[in-house]
């Protein structure tokens, strides 16, 4: 049983809140190694870009993406401590308001790593759709394995068609498989990210408003 020893077996235990605070600090000082570099979304998009365009930025023939716009939406995590023993359960929300009206959704997919190597064993992960008033919960199975062991789960049906798409709420569930040795620093897997394949019906450069506020030269 990997969970922390019950407080009763600890030596004279300080009051519980302090214990939690100490444990939390201990966990952080043990250096929660984030999952693979947090730049994973950026690396994924750079690979996507290199497949779609040459070094001058010219789209390659046959446009492998099938559209002119792909937006990567990062997850916002909420909820408390995701780890419980071998289990990691992290609720994630992808906010979709404010999509430009000219961008029409063609397809949406969540990209994550279904299996992550650990020092001892592996971290096996899956995605769950959290039930809402419109849709029942569901375990999402990857539609396709992309390069470098990423898995893509098609979530198009769960995104409201057209404007005003609210948000997508998922649960990222992982379990540590294999022998747990001592106090392995739990590796927090990086958050899955959402890809929106959109058709931008305007060819023009993004209006200045889209550009982060900058002093004009």
């Amino acid at each position: 049983n990997q969970s922390l020893p019950p407080p009763s077996s600890l030596p004279a235990v300080p009051p519980l809140p302090l214990l939690q605070a100490l444990q939390a600090r201990a966990a952080s000082s043990r250096g929660w190694r984030a999952g693979p570099a947090s730049g994973q979304p950026l690396r994924y998009m750079l690979n996507l870009y290199r497949r779609a365009a040459d070094r001058e930025g010219r789209p390659r023939r046959g446009r492998s993406l099938g559209t002119n716009t792909v937006r990567l939406v990062r997850a916002r995590s909420h909820g408390g401590q995701p780890w419980a023993g071998r289990w990691y359960v992290q609720p994630l929300t992808y906010r979709l308001e404010g999509q430009p009206a000219a961008e029409h959704l063609l397809r949406a997919a969540v990209v994550y790593l279904p299996s992550l190597p650990l020092a001892h064993g592996r971290l096996l992960c899956a995605l769950e759709l959290v039930a809402t008033s419109e849709t029942p919960g569901a375990l999402l199975s990857p539609a396709a394995r992309t390069r470098r062991s990423w898995a893509e789960v098609d979530v198009t049906p769960y995104l409201l068609p057209g404007r005003g798409m609210g948000s997508l709420v998922l649960r990222h569930v992982c379990v540590r498989a294999g022998r747990a040795v001592g106090h392995d620093a739990p590796v927090a897997p990086s958050h899955p990210f959402l890809l929106l394949y959109l058709n931008d019906t305007q060819a023009g450069l993004a209006p200045p408003a889209a550009e982060p506020h900058r002093h004009r030269r």
């Binding site: 750079l46 930025g57 010219r58 937006r71 906010r95 931008d200 060819a203 023009g204 993004a206 900058r214």
Partner: protein, 124 residues
């Protein structure tokens, strides 16, 4: 007055010889930092929008894709009223580029923008 044209044909033909000042496509590699867009554009690293520059020859060759209006305007400039300018040397065909950029909320956007590289010039 075709007589005059025929008389001056050598001059015209010499000009057709592709003076350096003729309307043509020229390279201009630029960085997104120079455009002040480097904060949000990650790729491509190199961008050469190219541009058209040069005088439109008085007798517009067919390969300039010049509309009839430009041919007429050119004659008006020479034969009727020099205040009417010669046709201008401007891009004729373009091609798109794909851009990878960071969005304000930390998202990452791949987008193809039309008409970002001039591929040929015309006189209009």
């Amino acid at each position: 007055d075709t007589g005059m044209l025929a008389h001056d044909l050598p001059g015209y033909l010499r000009e057709q010889g592709g003076e350096k000042s003729d309307c043509s496509l020229r390279p201009f590699p630029v960085s997104f930092a120079q455009l002040g867009w480097d904060h949000w554009i990650i790729a491509p690293h190199r961008y050469n929008p190219r541009y058209c520059k040069g005088a439109c020859p008085r007798l517009l060759r067919y390969d300039y894709h010049a509309p009839n209006h430009a041919v007429v305007q050119s004659f008006v400039h020479q034969l009727v009223d020099a205040n009417v300018p010669r046709p201008s040397c401007v891009p004729y065909r373009y091609s798109p580029i794909s851009v990878l950029m960071i969005e304000r909320d930390g998202g990452i956007l791949y987008k193809e923008y039309e008409n970002m590289i001039a591929e040929s010039c015309t006189c209009r």
